[in-house]
């Protein structure tokens, strides 16, 4: 039985799948970005010098710099890992565990009772 012209065979799909490196770079960078958000938030809260540095927008206060720097860290990490891994197959499991651990850590570190421990 012949397949319809628009169907993609499993073999063709296998060829079309991009290497896992691109996905690994994206998830690890997201974990790193989330973690930096928490670290910058704590640093901006506890260190007066950084509080001034993070005040990119006066009406918003240090939150403007904390979030902007975290987004920049996320995008830089993504660009670096994407450049390194985009054509490679990377073992996803350890990268995934690291990314999820960083994400959970960032959720915990942004929770004020935990933030206040520092």
């Amino acid at each position: 039985m012949s397949l319809p012209a628009t169907s993609i065979t499993p073999a063709e799909q296998a060829v079309a799948v991009p290497p896992s490196g691109a996905g690994a770079a994206a998830i690890l960078a997201a974990g790193i970005g989330a973690f930096f958000l928490a670290v910058f938030a704590i640093a901006g809260d506890k260190l007066p010098a950084l509080q001034n540095f993070f005040t990119f927008s006066k009406p918003t206060g240090p939150l403007s710099g904390v979030t902007t720097c975290a987004v920049v860290a996320w995008l830089v990490a993504w660009a670096v890992f994407h450049g390194l891994w985009r054509r490679r197959d990377v073992a996803i499991r350890p990268v995934a565990i690291g990314a999820v651990a960083l994400l959970i850590l960032s959720l915990l570190l942004t929770f004020p009772p935990i933030t206040d421990l520092f």
Partner: protein, 156 residues
């Protein structure tokens, strides 16, 4: 999304995949719009500093909450968590969207990558939920409607 990416023999249709792409893109755009307007439009109103000698703090929510020990925790826990955790939502959902655009239905073949994308998507919903709850209930609604005591649930 989980159903579409589930490792079953049922092949998801192209329409389902297209729907998920549109859905995730819309979620990512809305998440960025929410945190940017929240941070740069709404939040400055919340943290506005009253002129010296101001006694009526109704127009200065942060100062109003901090003025009383019965409401200060709404700022020190609710708002301080909300203002940061909300940013995890656009970051996570953007990553999920890009990965889904890159791999599409092939994500079904890579269990760790699929699970991680789903995990980040769930965390983005959780972060949005935390931010929405703490923003709308204890911080913004309560000072206006609830007085000094926060009523989470009313009995009959």
């Amino acid at each position: 999304m989980a159903a579409l990416l589930a490792q079953t023999d049922n092949q998801p249709g192209t329409r389902d995949e297209r729907f998920l792409r549109v859905y995730l893109t819309a979620m990512a755009v809305l998440a960025w719009a929410a945190v940017l307007t929240g941070t740069y439009v709404i939040y400055p109103w919340y943290r506005a500093t009253p002129p010296p000698g101001t006694t009526k703090l109704g127009a200065f929510p942060q100062r109003l909450l901090l003025a009383s020990p019965t409401t200060s925790a709404r700022h020190s826990i609710g708002m301080e968590w909300k203002e940061h955790v909300a940013w995890l939502a656009p970051l996570s959902i953007t990553m999920s969207t890009v990965v889904f655009f890159q791999y599409g239905r092939n994500l079904r073949r890579d269990a760790p990558l699929r699970s991680t994308v789903l995990c980040f998507t769930l965390v983005s919903f959780l972060a949005a939920g935390i931010a929405g709850f703490f923003g709308a209930m204890p911080v913004e609604h309560a000072p206006v409607e609830g007085g000094p005591t926060l009523h989470m649930v009313y009995g009959e």
